[in-house]
Amino acid sequence: MAGNVKVFVPRDTTACSLGANQVAAKLQQHFSVQSLNYEVIRNGSRGLYWLEPLIEIAAADERVAFGPIGLADIDDFIAGKCWEIDKSHPKYLGPTEEIPYLKQQQRLTFARVGLSESLSIADYQNHSGFTGLKKALAMTPQDLVTEVKESGLRGRGGAAFPTGIKWQTVLDNEADQKYIVCNADEGDSGTYSDRMLMESDPYCLIEGMTIAARAVGAEKGYIYLRDEYPLAHAILEEAIETARDENFLGSNILDSGASFDIEIRLGAGAYICGEETSMLESLEGKRGEVRPKPPLPAIEGLFGKPTVINNVISLAAVPGIIAEGAASYHNYGIDRSRGTLPFQLAGNIKQAGLVEIPFGATLRDMLYEYGGGSRSGRPLKAVQVGGPLGAYLSESQWDTPLDYEAFVAIDGMLGHGGIVAFDDSVDMSEQARFSMEFCAIESCGKCTPCRIGSVRGVEVIDLIREGENSGENKELLLELCDTMVAGSLCAMGGLTPFPVRSALKHFAEDFEQG
């Protein structure tokens, strides 16, 4: 097949949900039947989801794009022989890298995502893959930990704890066995960056985990993956096997003497298992009930051993940091939020997709410059940032810089970088009710404020919505929120009040219809 022109059709959950598999099959069949010198390559998604399925063609020195080419468009695409790059075609988008949405981003962690052939370990290496690991194998564990500390990388799962400090604790704890656990239980609505990374650049996660293992002295790693991601599961399984075959995993990795292997464990539909101690319980085969801290998982984690628990994006940032040096990452961002965050635009937004940029832009930039406003065409009214436990923000707050501390200062949180937009048809009292309902459904049940508080929360909000003793019940709801914040064992009960209180505070009129 050498010499064939490459035609890229993404293999990514969202692209596939828009027909990418069928489009790829039709194209490949056409090329085969007509004996054309073209072949279909399955890359990951560039994350410009409103343009998916986005077909790219490898021209002389750049890639050009057509999109969206779904099932309704593929016959026309084939009839027009678009792979010969008909620039007058209405779906022609020009060189992919020049599309402003992509060009304006600073993709560090997502540099390869959508560019390389997801499952080709050779293509991964053609795009600087395993450079970080090779460098890491020649470094001391302490130097690795120091490098990550100096990069300023903080936990991208949402808690934003400095990754290097966590690694230091595990490195400093002597034990016969240590573990690296990758938290891939990406349950927050409006977030999909973990899924994209795993589907589009799986070797990057494997490389990040292997470097982490080298840094702290672990020989076994687990990826705790949610069951809701069947494609990520299939792709990761295949990537791990290939990495083993090529000696990037297993014993004596690249003849360095170091050993490390990874096993995927599937979750079973419990949101709470994204909480790190609950996840450890689940990995041990138990009910996913939250453990009190201390002890910290870094000291007594999985099976009682020192354990690094990092989110997919934190681990995927590591190969680049090691390869390019801490400063290369630290130079991006503002204040204590260093580097970049892959934001995810979701909900009622015209140009939904992945936007990796340094900390410091505003929410308004994201919603309008990247997002292009609402998908429905109606005015935007509320934005929830940071998943179901993040505050609902009203327009007066959209100029807040996207950085961890600035968001805490307005009672919000950046979390995992999910941004869900709502237009003016939303009823915020209904959203507040859902926050409590979700907590009631997903609470692990271990502590009372979360388990009972959420049920009472639904009841009180129902009364307010019906207009029954509205004033008194609002006071009661706020008191209940205080109790949950102060008394819950983990972030589930402790943060559920944030979207509720923000809805009540910034969208008070929606609680008056009774």
Partner: protein, 165 residues
């Protein structure tokens, strides 16, 4: 097919338990394997699992009932999961949910009388850029409004006929 039917549920479960019992923390793996093989975890096999792993029946039952994914009764031929989370809400999933329940005549966690469709809620499929999303088997569908939902149902019904023939 007929040979498979001769193997009892108990034998299947025992086989899975002995295959994985030496793995660390094996219970979730075992439950996943059983559900993959039998489509649910028959309550009468709980004692077998407990005995194999040296756990109490209560512990095994506790784990099964904790996780939304595990089921103790057989599902319909197809399981449809409708995302109820915020991103999908912003694009009309509440209306989709009502439409689905009405057209199927069932609530969440129920199966149609003809045993074809089981309806389940799900909290995020990671397809939030193209909400509302639903999952049928391992396929995720994007932008699913009521009309798209009806079309998917119609496809499933055709598939049923093909499979049975």
């Amino acid at each position: 097919m007929s040979k498979e039917k001769e193997i009892s549920k108990e034998e299947i479960v025992s086989g899975i338990v002995s295959e994985h019992k030496e793995t660390s923390g094996p219970l979730l793996i075992i439950l996943h394997e059983i559900q993959k093989a039998l489509k649910f975890i028959p309550p009468e096999t709980v004692p077998l699992i407990a005995e194999g792993l040296n756990l109490s029946r209560a512990e095994v039952h506790g784990v099964i009932s904790f996780y939304h994914f595990f089921r103790s009764a057989p599902p319909g031929r197809h399981t449809i999961q409708i995302c109820r989370a915020e991103s999908c809400q912003a694009m009309g999933s509440r209306q989709l949910e009502q439409h689905a329940k009405q057209s199927l005549g069932i609530d969440f966690h129920q199966t149609t009388a003809d045993e074809q469709i089981t309806l389940e809620p799900v909290y995020c499929l990671g397809n939030c850029a193209c909400s509302p999303a639903i999952r049928v088997g391992d396929d995720i569908h994007a932008h699913v409004g009521p009309a798209a939902f009806d079309a998917i149902l119609a496809d499933l019904a055709t598939e049923k006929v093909e499979v049975q023939n």
